[in-house]
């Protein structure tokens, strides 16, 4: 069950010819795929493409009606390999993932696919996670497109354009026997917009047609001598065919006047912000009527030499607006124009930033410098442009810099991973610091405050693998962490299998929260929920034991901090050889809440006895040291000031968002912190026995309390 349900939105996927679709671009992309007659889709979730996978998952009925096979792939490599269905058969297929990390994982399959080429249209929807808010290393997918020769579409951020390019992209793929990639950036994925829909298309050639009449061509397989032939094919046939198609179908666009001494070449994805920058400089209106000629590359690879030549022919200078580094497009532009001895000067990364987001402000500055150097009169009398630098230089704003605290992401309220890292922090206090190989997933938040645990992260599922060098230890052991998502992505073989084979002496902690939680709570092999279209409930411990693990401990309730601590300590100190594998399982609290909340509400409503738990702090027992928070970081555990002049420091306080997971109580008990935490068990619709017991004990308690109060001397404080 994914974090966000698109059950309602997917109905938009049924829109027919002429109807207007309004919604998120991710949904528009899905609609584009259906309008293109795909036979199969797959992929691996990850921001900014997670929602695409969730949409597909929620749209399985519609996909079924159209005969489309949808899979949540085990990894991006699986997804890429899935495209091999288009090698021999005229089947259109699409897969999606987060890039560049997903493309890294997929690149072996992609290289093979691109070498042999395809018969049916094959498309990879790339979620380009670059710039502000990105969660990964800052690299470009462009390099993969070039090295394996796959066409890279970079549509300008407009739903109609994106949907159109999906359809054209499949045609391009077929016309040039080459897989294509369609790149959408983070903001575009989550962009709300609209387009006029077409009918969905049921593929003419079905998967059954392929399976019932299999064909094979030896020369499509990457083996010498075919592999050498493929390279020649790429150069002599596929590239020219692609260029012809792109040119004939006008996939790239021209805006503004035909003449002009200067022009701008822009990646499709940068178009909107370039228009705004031009507008600030008085060179365009809000509707895109620019005064400077623009060539918008909706296809950024290959570059169409003849179009570039035509655009630059009578110009003195062109500016290449290209996000990220290295500046592949600028280099290519140089090659094209210099080879043909065109005079136009080329500007690019000399006036624009080499790396980072191409915000409107950054583009505007670059444009200004470019025009300054080439055609200054275009800037007119320099209309005022937005500028916040004066405001930012104000002393009271300067002062804010010291005041506004960082807000790093953290584990959710009630997260079952919190007690694991609290226990690890306590164990570190007993046994000293350990080297911790962290991994991608929610558990990576352990590297941030308040836990500050974790030395490296090398890629999804590679937590185990990245501890490989530390396999022989005479003193302290290494700890490798991976999540259940990473475990099934590749960690079982790359981490655990590798450790067992190489007799690794370290500790391997598998954090099992029943879902691929960091990407939005998708089901995986070991999920404990029933899923009608997938096979779940395959426990991790069986997998690791199946490949030879001997020392395996399962903690089936991570909130048991004492047990967690004990198991970790044992793993770090036992004499036993081989990897020490700990599987710590508890359900992701976000998912659990989503699952249980409606059930509980219904039970309460129908008069059933329901016990709800939440935690609290006795404020007069708490002394304001906040050690509990340094072992927790729970969003519902905060601090508050007391109205008591005798107290200096704010005390801990738990707000209404507490879900009663128990972490704070367990931690204060295990770390021997303080007795100020209590758990309140709130019984709704109590039975007569509950009421009787409560009444009887409260009668006794009340008697005792009154007795003591009688003997107490009271000095009123004010």
């Amino acid at each position: 069950m994914a974090e966000r349900s698109f059950a309602k939105e997917v109905e938009h996927l049924r829109l027919g010819e002429g109807e207007v679709f309004k919604g998120e671009a991710i949904l528009a992309i899905t609609k584009g795929l259906l309008q293109s007659g795909v036979s199969y889709v797959g992929g691996y979730q990850g921001s900014p493409i997670s929602h695409l996978m969730d949409v597909l998952s929620d749209a399985q009925d519609i996909l079924g009606e159209l005969g489309v096979n949808f899979q949540s792939s085990a990894s991006e490599a699986t997804a890429a390999a899935m495209l091999s269905a288009s090698v021999n058969y005229p089947l259109r297929g699409a897969v999606a993932w987060k890039s560049t990390v997903g493309t890294n994982v997929a690149s072996d399959a992609l290289a093979n696919l691109a070498s042999g080429g395809v018969t049916g249209g094959a498309m990879v929807i790339i979620g380009e996670d670059y710039g502000e808010g990105s969660s990964i290393m800052q690299e470009r997918t462009h390099a993969f497109a070039m090295k394996s020769q796959m066409w890279l579409l970079d549509p300008r951020p407009d739903h109609a354009r994106i949907v159109d390019l999906i359809e054209k992209g499949f045609q391009l793929s077929e016309a040039s026997n080459t897989p294509v990639m369609l790149e959408v950036r983070v903001r575009t994925c989550h962009m709300h917009g609209s387009f006029v829909a077409k009918d969905n298309v049921r593929p003419e050639f079905s998967i059954d047609d392929a399976l019932n009449n299999p064909t094979r061509e030896l020369d499509r397989i990457v083996l010498p001598p075919a592999a050498y032939e493929h390279e020649q094919e790429k150069i002599k046939q596929r590239l020219p065919a692609a260029i012809d198609f792109i040119r004939d179908n006008k996939l790239n666009e021209w805006f503004g006047p035909e003449d002009g001494k200067v022009g701008i070449v822009v990646q499709g994805g940068m178009y909107n912000n370039v228009i705004r920058a031009l507008q600030y400089l008085g060179l365009s209106d809000a509707y895109g009527n620019t005064r400077i000629p623009m060539y918008v590359m909706n296809v950024t690879y290959p570059m169409i030499d003849s179009e570039i030549e035509d655009f630059a022919r009578d110009k003195d200078a062109v500016l290449m607006v290209e996000e990220g580094q290295p500046e592949y497009l600028e280099q290519s532009l140089n090659t094209v124009l210099r080879r043909k001895h065109h005079k136009a000067r080329i500007f690019g990364k000399d006036v624009l930033p080499m790396g980072g987001d191409y915000s409107v402000a950054a583009i505007m500055e670059g444009l200004e410098q470019f025009l300054e150097a080439t055609e200054p009169q275009l800037l007119g009398n320099r209309p005022p442009r937005p500028d916040a630098s004066d405001v930012l230089a104000m002393p009271s704003v300067e002062k804010l810099k010291e005041v506004v605290p960082a807000r790093p992401p953290g584990l959710c309220t009630g997260c079952p991973e919190r007690p694991i890292f609290a226990a690890m922090k306590m164990v570190n206090e007993d046994l000293g610091e350990h080297h911790v190989s962290a991994d991608i997933g929610c558990h990576l938040f352990s590297i941030l405050p308040p836990f500050n645990i974790g030395n490296t992260t090398m890629g999804f599922g590679l937590g185990g693998a990245s501890a490989s060098a530390f396999s022989r230890s005479t003193g302290k052991r290494s700890i490798a962490v991976m999540g259940d998502g990473g475990f099934w992505h590749n960690g079982l073989t790359s981490g655990i299998g590798n450790a067992i084979y190489n007799k690794h002496d370290g500790v391997f902690l598998i954090v099992d929260n029943f879902y691929s939680s960091a990407t939005g709570g998708q089901d995986i092999l070991s999920s404990r929920a029933f899923n009608k279209s997938r096979n779940t409930n395959n426990p991790i411990d069986k997998a690791v034991r199946g490949i030879g693990a001997k020392w395996v401990r399962e903690v089936d309730r991570t909130y048991d901090v004492g047990k967690m601590k004990e198991v970790l300590t044992e793993a770090l100190t036992t004499e036993e050889e081989g990897p020490k594998i700990i599987i710590a399982s508890s359900e992701c609290m976000l998912n659990k809440q989503r699952r249980e909340k409606p059930q509980i509400a219904a039970a309460v409503k129908s008069g059933k006895r329901v016990v709800k738990e939440r935690f609290g702090v006795d404020e007069d027992v708490c002394t304001g040291d906040h050690a509990c928070i340094r072992l927790s970081g729970c969003p519902s555990l905060s601090v508050k000031h007391l109205d008591d002049p005798l107290r200096d420091d704010p005390v801990a306080a738990i707000d209404n968002s507490c879900v009663g997971c128990g972490n704070c109580g367990e931690v204060s008990e295990a770390a021997v912190l303080c007795p100020s935490f209590y758990r309140a068990d709130i019984i709704q619709n109590p039975t007569w026995w509950d009421r009787f017991k409560a009444r009887a004990s409260l009668a006794l308690i009340g008697f005792l309390q009154r007795r003591r109060d009688r003997n107490r001397v009271l000095v009123e404080a004010v």
């Binding site: 912000n273 209106d285 005041v403 000031h641 912190l673 309140a680 005792l704």
Partner: protein
């Protein structure tokens, strides 16, 4: 809609530079920023405008800060505007912040500028982890945000939108939507806003109620809002007369012996100490405070507003009301405590509740309760002590309101009578007296240093390990104070030492500072 036509004395630079209306919503994950964004888009689309929203969720969804951005504009001759995907500093019309420090962050992004930005922000705080986890006081100073808003926002609508939403049974997004409507920043009617909420189909009534309340509140000044909310507060009498004769005697003594500015603090202290033990203990407290006051007067404390006694009245009370098992058991078994919890969880007639305490007593606490002699004897029998500790020291879940456990806690709380002969009390008294002796010594040499020495008591807090760490910090700091007592700037160093010690190990480096100070010698 703004007209940004640039008037150029030369040739016109462009046809139209009319720009869209831009809104940025700065929020934290789970604060409904997405819902609000969806509503604003819908609002514009319903009116036939083109609206585009973008966001960057990624990891920000897990409590991190995130930003949503909306642009809207009318189509022209069937042509849609090209809308930007991120806010440009200096060109944002409305900024909506769902938390107060986030409003500050938006100012740092340069998207709040005096020439155009309406800032709508909730004044409530959701503390960042660094603010919460700091030992002692770490909460950011909100007044810096107030100051910055004053000079950067063209208009501001600021109040606790979260509280307003909760009071009306909804969430903050509805309140912020109401504030947006009230701001008049968008050319849409209240009915159009209502229509958007109604289309959502979930919790509509509560959302509309919250929207309307926020709309009304947004048009009031803070003073008006205060008047509307609060009932007139009666002027509080200066002090409540004590109810028991024994308490009355103590209060009388306090008021006669001390200056009024000290008496208020001393009364709080007295109340705490008597509450901790008994009236006799209160008299002991007054002995100490009066002693200090005499010294203070001798040292010319008048000129310092009797700062030494004032700090003494506070910290002596804290020192005397130390955190022991008896106190914890006492606090947990009081009637008022159960009432407070019932309020906190919003107990209704058809629910009942129990509480479970998470306790981890150790042999140390048990020995502390014993008569001093017996306790010391046991402490010296390592083997026996360890054997007992293994039996005692474990986590215990105490069901407070079950008869058995309550009786147990009640019994422990009742050991108050024997407390003053206990080992723990002996240790606390010895420590307290040594501290007070040092205070006298320091104050005699250097008044300000004496005051700082008093305040060092703040370092001791908590239970078990935390308490032990506090004691050790206290010892290190007071040792140093004695070492450099002759310096002219000793008081300043003492203050720095104390503040560093509070944060020692969590951003503070006490050993480092001590080294630095010694290097001056």
């Amino acid at each position: 809609m703004r007209d940004e036509t640039v008037k150029l004395p030369l040739e016109r630079a462009g046809d139209a530079t009319e720009r869209p209306i831009s809104l940025a919503i700065v929020a934290m994950g789970g604060q409904g920023g997405g819902v609000l964004t969806g509503w604003i888009v819908k609002l514009a689309e319903n009116a036939g405008w083109i609206a585009q929203s973008t966001s960057v969720p990624g990891v920000a969804q897990r409590t991190g800060a995130t930003i949503y951005y909306v642009e809207m504009m009318r189509p022209q001759d069937g042509k849609s505007p090209i809308l930007a995907q991120m806010p440009t500093p200096g060109d944002v019309d409305v900024v909506i912040a769902s938390e107060f420090i986030e409003a500050g962050r938006s100012i740092l992004r340069g998207i709040v500028t005096p020439d155009r930005t309406t800032l709508i922000a909730s004044s409530h705080r959701s503390l960042a982890i660094a603010e919460k986890s700091a030992p002692g006081e770490g909460i950011a100073d909100s007044s810096a945000v107030v100051d910055a808003i004053g000079v950067t926002a063209q208009r501001q609508i600021i109040y606790d939108m979260n509280a307003l939403a909760v009071a009306n049974g909804s969430v903050i997004s509805s309140a912020m939507f109401g504030a947006l409507a009230a701001s008049g920043a968008l050319p849409f009617s209240t009915e159009e806003y209502h229509a958007v909420i109604a289309e959502g189909g979930k919790g509509v009534a509560a959302s509309i109620r919250t929207f309307d309340a926020a709309y009304a509140r947004s048009q009031q000044t803070d003073e008006e809002a205060k008047e509307a909310l609060e009932e007139p507060v009666l002027v509080q009498p200066l002090a409540t007369p004590p109810t028991s004769p024994r308490a009355a005697r103590l209060v009388e003594r306090l008021e006669q012996g001390l200056r009024p500015q000290i008496a208020t603090m001393a009364r709080l202290g007295l109340s705490k100490v008597v509450d901790f033990q008994d009236a006799e203990y209160g008299a002991e407290y007054l002995d100490i405070v009066e002693d200090l006051f005499r010294l203070d007067t001798e040292l010319g404390g008048e000129a310092h507003d009797f700062e030494l006694t004032l700090a003494g009245a506070k910290y002596v009370a804290n020192a005397m009301a130390y955190d022991d098992v008896v106190r914890v058991a006492d606090l947990k078994t009081r009637a008022a405590r159960r009432g407070r919890i019932a309020d906190e969880i919003g107990l209704s007639d058809d629910t009942i509740f129990h509480t479970t305490e998470y306790m981890h007593p150790r042999m140390e606490e048990v020995v502390g309760l014993m008569p001093a002699g017996l306790g010391r004897w046991l402490q010296n029998r390592e083997g026996l002590y360890g054997w007992l500790d293994r039996r005692v020291s474990k986590g215990r879940r105490v069901r407070t309101y079950s008869p058995g456990w309550f009786l147990m806690l009640y019994f422990v709380a009742g050991m108050r009578g024997m407390r003053r002969s206990s080992l723990r009390h002996q240790e606390e008294i010895d420590h307290r007296d040594a501290w007070l002796a040092l205070v006298r010594d320091m104050a005699t040499r250097n008044y300000a240093l004496g005051v700082e020495t008093v305040k060092c008591r703040r370092l001791i807090k908590g239970y078990s390990d935390t308490h032990a760490r506090g004691l050790s910090k206290f010892a290190r700091v007071t040792n140093e104070i004695e070492r450099f007592a002759e310096r002219d700037d000793a008081a300043e160093w003492a203050k720095r030492l104390r503040e560093t010690a509070i944060r020692d190990g969590e951003g503070g480096d006490l050993d480092g500072l001590i080294k630095t100070i010694r290097s001056f010698e």
